[in-house]
């Protein structure tokens, strides 16, 4: 039974059903991103006080849908595609239970549509977090539950595929690092969905009247077990994609398999504790609990990210130095393919995720510092650095890799693709930095009117806050433009991109497999272990990647300085005990 085709450019083997599912999930992700991006424009143009585009009810409605489509639907559809790629394609194995995988996909689609309809109808503008006792329509919760069940099926299809690969011995030795990272993401996803079920199922029953009361504090604790952990799936997934991209572009191997894998293990063990970040100023939760959980048990998950922060660019540096880019500290980086959006997207995501997202996240997750940051616009600024740039830009970069590989199309408007990561990250960075500033001045998140028009009492933010929000508005619009460029390139490539195989037609772009004749391989050759490395030294002073080490130290210095600046700021507010 022939069911594999081999990619003539890369030698990847694609299982017919896995390939169709990857396409379908990727297309659903792109549609979600389109919705989220259009809505983002409404949000940012309303928060820009001089423009103040939308009326209050529409603003909260748009903000709810923006958050859910961007943070849940876009990301998780894409992650399911990554799980299938990292299992079936990388391990050269057939996908487990493709019918179940399609069922999962169908449930995700139904759930996403149902939830969007609920928000569109107008009685479910409760924000992504839907804090009880504020209540949405029952199908708001039901949509999320169905989506999560679908995603859970995807996780089990991934795990089943790993088992099949192991039983059929489709690869030698251990799992590749990228698949190992995807497995990390999958394990965190199962924990996340379990938390989601524990809180959303009772909340749904409450919304239809079967349960009389949902405790507001308990809701927050458990909801964030899902809400924060779902962002940790992203971290594990996009770090895996970083390893994949440096492998494809530079033939890079991890500096040390042991170190990188241990770092992933630390994610599994500790990242989930981070739901505490959201309840640091809540009543009824003890300081001991907050300190232990908010720091992921002594910052061991932060340690893991700092390790990846060194080993990802470090592995790339080692590979580049081996190719002869050995001049000075940074020739390996200067001579990198900056015009290739796969590279520039990945590297900008890495830098912005680490320097802005990572540092601000740890600072505001410090128990006491959270007092000066909780629920200010600093918070969305932080998670736009981690998710909207770190994860999203990584997935965009991966898309540019997948379009020729999976969809067998050349990129449409390559010049636009070349500029896209720069426009997107410049816009987003501008927005993020200025929102961080506004948050420090106390500007609230999820707030329609910083003028408080019509309130019985009055309050004025300092003039600087308005300026900061206006510049953030400009940045946000630029970011949306960068997102639009991504969608133009992606959709354009699927519709009008040059076909790399004659068989790749219009329908093939949307999940329909290519003609049977393409799939002429019954069983791919077994995947061999990576060749052993001849011992060579390219770095200096026993350092394989000195340039990366300098970058890492720069990160640490920024981190330390910014961390203590915030303690200093905290020390200036009213004493509370």
């Amino acid at each position: 039974m022939a069911q594999f085709r081999v990619c003539p450019d890369t030698g990847f083997f694609f299982d017919k059903s896995a390939e169709s599912l990857i396409k379908a999930n990727a297309v659903a992700a792109a549609v979600s991103l389109l919705i989220a991006g259009v809505l983002a424009l409404g949000v940012i143009l309303t928060r820009w006080q001089e423009v103040h585009l939308l009326p209050a009810d529409l603003f909260y409605q748009v903000l709810t849908a923006h958050g859910i489509n961007a943070l849940l639907f876009w990301i998780i559809f894409f992650e399911i595609a990554i799980l299938y790629f990292a299992s079936s394609t990388l391990l050269r194995t057939r996908l487990a239970a493709p019918r179940w995988a399609w069922l999962g996909f169908a449930l995700m689609i139904i759930g996403a549509v149902m939830n969007n309809i609920a928000v569109l109808q107008g009685n479910s503008s409760v924000m992504m977090t839907s804090y009880a006792p504020m209540q949405a329509e029952p199908h708001f919760y039901l949509g999320l539950i169905l989506f999560a069940v679908g995603a859970l099926i995807g996780c089990f299809v991934f795990l089943g595929t790993l088992v099949i690969a192991r039983d059929d011995r489709t690869y030698e030795g251990s799992l590749p690092l990228v698949t190992f990272g995807a497995l990390t993401a999958c394990i965190i996803a199962i924990f996340t969905i379990a938390c989601g079920a524990i809180i959303l199922v009772p909340t749904w029953l409450w919304s239809i009247g079967y349960i009389s009361h949902i405790d507001a504090a308990m809701y927050r604790v458990i909801w964030w077990g899902m809400g924060h952990s779902s962002q940790q799936i992203n971290v594990a997934a996009h770090v895996s994609v970083w390893y994949l991209i440096i492998g494809v572009l530079f033939n890079a191997r991890p500096m040390s398999e042991k170190v990188s894998r241990t770092a992933f293990l630390l994610y599994i063990l500790f990242l989930q504790l981070a739901s505490a970040h959201h309840i640091l100023v809540d009543p009824g939760i003890s300081s001991e609990w907050k300190v232990f959980n908010t720091s992921y048990a002594m910052y061991l998950a932060v340690l893991a990210s700092m390790i990846h922060g060194l080993t990802v660019p470090g592995s790339m540096e080692v590979a580049q130095r081996a190719k002869g880019y050995t001049k000075g500290m940074f020739e390996w980086l200067r001579k990198a393919p900056w015009g290739n959006p796969v590279f520039s997207g990945f590297f900008l995501a890495l830098i912005i995720f680490g320097f802005i997202g990572g540092i601000t996240g740890v600072v505001m997750g410090t128990e006491q510092i959270n007092i000066i940051i909780h629920n200010t616009i600093y918070v969305p600024a932080h998670f736009h650095a981690t998710v909207a740039v770190g994860t999203t830009l990584t997935f965009m970069a991966l898309t540019y890799l997948l379009i020729p590989l999976v969809f067998r199309r050349a990129l449409f408007l390559p010049w636009m693709a070349k500029w896209q990561p720069y426009v997107f990250s410049a816009g987003m960075t501008l927005m993020i930095l200025f929102q961080l500033g506004a948050g420090t001045l106390g500007v609230s998140r999820r707030h329609w009117d910083m003028d408080f028009t019509g309130a019985m009492l009055s309050f004025e933010y300092p003039g600087t806050a308005y300026t900061l929000m206006a510049v953030a508005g400009v940045g946000g619009v630029l970011g949306v433009l960068g997102g639009a460029m991504y969608l133009i390139v992606t959709v354009g490539s699927l519709l009008f991109g040059k076909k790399l195989d004659q068989s790749a037609g219009f329908l093939q772009s949307f999940g329909v497999p290519m003609p049977a004749s393409s799939y002429n391989i019954t069983q791919p050759e077994r995947l061999q272990m990576a060749p052993k490395l001849a011992v060579e030294e390219h770095g200096s002073a026993g350092f394989e990647a000195p340039g990366t080490f300098v970058l890492a130290i720069a990160l640490l210095v920024c981190f330390v300085v910014y961390y203590f600046i915030n303690w200093d700021y905290l020390a200036s507010v009213w004493p509370i005990s």
Partner: protein, 179 residues
């Protein structure tokens, strides 16, 4: 290419780790421990720490306490909301409801007060501006903290947890008088 190929060593966990990685892991671990210890350190030596004092309550029960304080210490009214001046060192109460912080408090500079906060309906966010102290106010829970306003002037409580269509109308006031 081994980032997406099986590792070149079957027993990959026995391969030696490079010097650079060891040094970085060491530095990062030390930094992580410093950050961890900063939080207990601040509990002992810092002045901005939330108390662990909180009680389960009901809106009706909490409302009674607020009303008692208002009846006892009311000194005026602003925009229909009573202004209350409780004695220094006493228990003062504020509640959040759609869409109002109630009542307005008048405090003395450099005096300590036991501030009680709760919500009558949904989640609200107590965001004291321009001091920038932000607390989550959860219905059914009464949070108690000791505050010592060390600056005088007019301070505003902005609601910074989304609480429906009138969220942006929800302001409160705390006046701190020099003494």
């Amino acid at each position: 290419m081994s980032s997406f190929l099986p590792p070149s060593e079957r027993i990959w966990w026995n391969t030696p780790i490079g010097k650079q990685e060891i040094i970085w892991i060491g530095i990062a671990l030390v930094w992580c421990l410093i950050m961890f210890l900063m939080m207990p350190y601040w509990h002992i030596y810092g002045k901005q720490n939330l108390s662990n004092e909180a009680y389960q309550t009901t809106p009706a029960h909490y409302q009674v306490k607020v009303d008692e304080m208002v009846a006892k210490y009311k000194v005026g009214e602003e925009a229909g909301i009573p202004v209350v001046k409780p004695p220094a060192g006493s228990d003062v109460y504020m509640l959040g409801r759609l869409w109002q912080w109630y009542p307005i408090l008048e405090l003395e500079q450099n005096q300590s007060y036991r501030l009680h906060l709760s919500s009558m309906d949904w989640n609200h966010g107590f965001s004291l501006q321009p001091v920038n102290i932000n607390l989550q106010i959860v219905p059914g829970y009464e949070m108690v903290l000791t505050v010592t306003p060390d600056t005088a002037g007019e301070f505003t409580v902005v609601c910074n947890e989304f609480c429906g269509i009138g969220h942006h109308l929800m302001l409160g006031k705390i006046y701190v008088k020099e003494n």
